[in-house]
Symmetry: C2
Subunit: 178 residues, 2 copies
DNA sequence: CGCGCCATGTAAGCAGTTACATGATTCC
DNA sequence: GGAATCATGTAACTGCTTACATGGCGCG
């Protein structure tokens, strides 16, 4: 049910199409939520039936027609109700690499270090992109507190991950087994 | 499909029942994976059909009978193949609180600070429990590298979350809006 | 006498992923 | 000529959650 509130949140800020939302998920929300176009379009239809959003059809010549969504009063009220009344559920994380971590003892020294280096590199790239996005975003002076806080979260998360990997490496390099 | 490898990983370390696995998920894997007994029992059945695990039935008097699982050769090979050959997929996170964060600008100053304090408290409790578990675990001198690394990850994650919340609070308290 | 622990399972429903489907325009 | 971008949608499937279902034992 939370995808719904993520969508309501995005629509509350600016006039967007389903297509725009897909990109906002990819650029700004990667660090804490994921979704695909098929799920997003479906949820938007459901929400429209329940009168939480409505749309305006824009006819275009050189590209396909599009639907620009906006919140209804009911939608806005429901979003705020959820935010302040609905009890907090803790994050659900599915991190494959941590599963691999649990079986480090049955892998060789070399295999483990290769895996760790791959992850460090992946996170380093993510960190770089996220920092670039934050800087670009700050220059725009957009004053979107929500976005500012969540990018910062993304940056801190990536840094933590890299530091943890480096700590793991040093611990493994110290050990003599395998 | 990753639940399967999480299960294979657990079974590779010790002789466990489905019931034990449920508790291992709750105690040691909360930080990076979640599952429920219904999904676990179902997956164990599937894996047994595919001959990745087998079980030994233990008849008990004062409690229900139980099935103790162990890896087959095929299971162990498949686990290692997955760990070193299967390309890394990045973590999938679903964090409701970060969705709430994106709409901070449409909430009042007070509502936002209440939410942040709730989360800080929740994470503080998690951190305390996780640190207690690590210390207890280190005293046992269990030498399980995988578990040592993942608890440490849990601790670092919780600390990062708390620090980020505190940074957010200071940023909001500095601001005069709302 | 009720709650929690041990221990297993099935069924129904919802959430999320991948594949199928279309089609013009723009850029290389 | 091929790939990427814009823009929307449906269908099939897998993964995950919640509810249903059983039953003895020990503790307060």
């Amino acid at each position: 049910m939370s995808l719904r509130y993520a969508l309501l949140g995005i629509i509350s800020k600016r006039r967007v199409t389903g297509y725009d939302v897909v990109h906002i998920f990819k650029q700004q929300m990667v660090h804490f939520w994921g979704s695909t176009h098929s799920q997003i379009y479906t949820e938007l239809h459901k929400m429209e039936k329940e009168e939480l959003v409505d749309h305006e059809l824009v006819i275009q010549e050189s590209s396909p027609n599009k639907k620009i969504y906006s919140l209804t009063d009911k939608g806005r009220k429901e979003l705020i109700r959820w935010a302040i009344e609905e009890p907090l559920k803790s994050a659900k994380i599915k991190d494959e690499f941590l599963i691999k971590t649990t079986i480090f003892p049955i892998l060789t020294h070399k295999e483990v270090l290769t895996l760790l280096d791959e992850v460090i590199e992946r996170e380093r790239i993510t960190l770089e992109k996220t920092e670039a996005w934050r800087d670009h975003f700050k220059q725009d002076n957009k004053q979107d507190l929500g976005a500012l806080l969540t990018v910062e979260y993304g940056i801190r998360y990536a840094k933590m991950y890299i530091e943890w990997c480096q700590w793991a490496k040093s611990l493994i390099e110290k050990g003599t087994t395998n």
